[in-house]
Amino acid sequence: MINLFINEQKVSVTEGTTVLAAAKKLKINIPTLCNHDDLCVAGNCRVCLVEQKGARTLIASCATPASDGMEIHTNTLKVRNARKHIVELLLSEHRSDCTKCYKNQNCELQSLANDYAFGDHVFLDLVEGRNYNIDRSSPSFIKDDSKCIRCQRCVRTCSELQYISAIAVANKGAHQKISSFHDRPMSQVVCTNCGQCVNRCPTGALVEKTYIDQVWDAIYDPDKHVVVQTAPAVRVALGEDLGYDPGERVTGKMVNALRQLGFNSVLDTDFSADLTIMEEGTELLVRLKKAMVDGNKDISLPMFTSCSPGWIKFVEHKYPEFLPNLSTCKSPQQMFGALAKTFYARKRNIDPSKIVSVSIMPCTAKKFEADRPEMRSSGFKDVDFVLTTRELAVMIKQAGIDFRNIEEANYDSIMGASTGAAVIFGATGGVMEAALRTAYEIVTGREVPFGNLNITPVRGMDGVKEATIKLEGCTDAWKFLEGAELKVAIAHGLVNANKIMKMIREGKAPYHFVEIMACPGGCIGGGGQPIPTNLEIRKKRMKAIYSEDEHKVLRKSHENPDVIAIYKEFLDQPNSHKSHELLHTHYVERDNY
């Protein structure tokens, strides 16, 4: 143990603990800005400076390991003056149009300014007269360099968590900036639109592109019938933006709020998640049969899940030779969109051209996905507008809804029923678990051999997870799988996806089925989720997801009554011609820069 003194108080910490963490132990707060729990230490903003006895300069508490006998003071005149200077310097190169800013009141620089730099500022405004670039080229997010304070959280996120480095530091000195390859627009580089940078940007330099006004316009247009779907991970995180602690399930209140906002029909992406299991599970079994029984060498295995649009774009950029391995299934959002303007329109007898389909997603990449040219199989744009969890919270506030005190409500029918298997799509391992619950039962006629259907080996926050399921007692139709061991793997966060892809490319991974989610923790940690994010918060959201699953009456996708009904009335059977037309897609190779 290392003993040190902070503000005259003794504290013992383990070796490697930073001064910042040691201070936290003493309940002493030191302000930070470039520091983020998910990322490596940068030590570049200098906001967390403290005074160390005997040191020539102040030290960055986030970057300095505690050492024995250290005497630290966090609140000396020297520290306060330097900190005030630093915050004022940051503000001098930041366009402080706070009242217009999307991040107003959720901005770490603003709260530092509030604490340390109120009143008149000494320094000159460096923003004026500079030709700052505001990049609106991505359908998912906006990058506004005039608000960037160069903390490099986004850069670290993109390389450390996502293994992409679509953005990096360019130039030096006064010209230093966060830039893309050859300064290209973000829509023309390797960016997957995952929005993890947006989640970690302390200011308004990186924000999602909002479609709130367009959705309000649609809602108030008497000619339009506005349908909304909500992704599984939204219901366990929305509360954080509306005064709840992380990990609270607010499903019922969210449904009621959406109805009060004026959506004509409040439906559930969970329905199409169940549908995805039927389609994707069948696709997997068909691939296995073709490969194992028919000996077809052209069948690509392992098969990869295709729910996460950030992951899809990652493969398109980085591993295009594996495009045939991606399941052809659209994501649940897009399956829902295609059905909203076909099946739903027919059932409700509404002209599909009058339907506006909105989705509430924990994701920024979904905005890009909805814009893909492939996603128009209904004859219209299948999903018109994608809002993040954060944008929904804004709408709820705008409408003056007292979220905490409203009643809970249920989803509308037709495409509103769901099972616990669909809910867990929101957490890493969830699609795999849902698929196994159904596929195992199809093949063997029995439930998966795990207590209470909880396939625990595929759960949790490990970056890469593996499991093997032995198929025994197969029904006659699936006898060829008798005794086979189904090898599966799961990864979340693209840096982990890359680990699996590398192994597969090198022929070192004998998997049949791989689930990959672009974001850490899966959709619960998505780029559209409430800010801030860290492992602790994501774990709480994950716990809430599994608790939602446990509370469901139906917990297997193939038991969803709306899914059973849609096959009977409309789609015929999984992977049918109609399914392929509406629910399946294809992918394109993209440049790796």
Binding site: R46, K78, H85
Partner: protein, 386 residues
Amino acid sequence: MENKGLTKVDLIFEKIDSKEVMVKAFGMSSAEIIQSILDSGLKGRGGAGFPTGLKWKYTAAEKNPDKYIVCNADEGEPGTFKDREILDRVSNKVHGGMAIAGKAIGAKKGIVYLRGEYRYLLPKLMIELDSFHKMIKEIGFDFSVEYRMGSGAYICGEESALFESIEGKRGEPRNKPPYPTSVGVFDKPTSINNVETLVTAMMIIQHGAKNFIQYGTKDSRGSKVFSISGDTPTPGIFELELGMSVQQFVNEFGDGDTKAVQVGGASGFCVPRKKFAETIIGFEGVPTGGSMKLFNSSRSMYNVLHNYLDFFTEESCGQCTPCRVGCQQLLKGVEKVKKGEAKSTYLNELVKLADSMKIAAKCGLGQSVGNAFKSIVGNFKEEIIY
């Protein structure tokens, strides 16, 4: 303070049989070499002046057997050109110094990080390096040197930014601790020394620490190569004993009208005429990596300051707030004052900012911007305002 007067010395460029010195060094134990460098009181010749013996001692004490000796030849301080001369004339001593350092710390690999603008020296250096490698093989010591090129960024002379650059990354200073002696280039224990330091170390081994400490003062042992430029009839490279006053220096090199000397380059201090006599050039007074720039009364000190601030605004890596933004504020601030758009008292605010930068910036670059700023603004205020 001791005042040794101005004495020209010929140690660095002295012709020696480098094989003989190396054989002598390799006959000594690592501890003996380090002790003799410690005894000599040698401080780093790049400008920062860290005791070389201590640096070697710390690196030698590291358990990881994979160590590096890195020669910092990224001579980028404005007004410094002595390392170029050393590499051009006595690169055998640079390589030899590296081998001796390698013996001292237990490193088998040496890397010279050569300033991008000195690429033209490479063909000659490669020939020298070949004969060095042959010689070291003959002696039977396992050590080799390779060259890595810089690309012109001033910040890459900062030791940890230099490592990043060698590793193929963007040249940005690292957080310290850990220090290079434990986690240096490729995360291995590394002793990084200036070109001149390595040559001086070799000469200490040849002549002995006792002879070396005859030169210089208690705080600044030995002699040093100066790069002299500006308003002087005799610009160029001169090796001088440490411990002279600025006045003695000006008497020798000035043009009779010297009003200020910038000691230590853009990151150094400006000494005005009225302080010439009382200021010693060395670690007890104004330290320098070698850059000595003389200004006569025809020069505007506003222009001098503006030039330096412009330089720092460009050459800051841009990573940390105090340096990236602070440099811009100092530059724009003095411009405003000069134009009469800000009150002259605004300079006081800028001085406070310079003080903050000195204690808040991440590396030596940002921490030393205030040196030139404060010494020029403090001594030539009227030239900045009017």
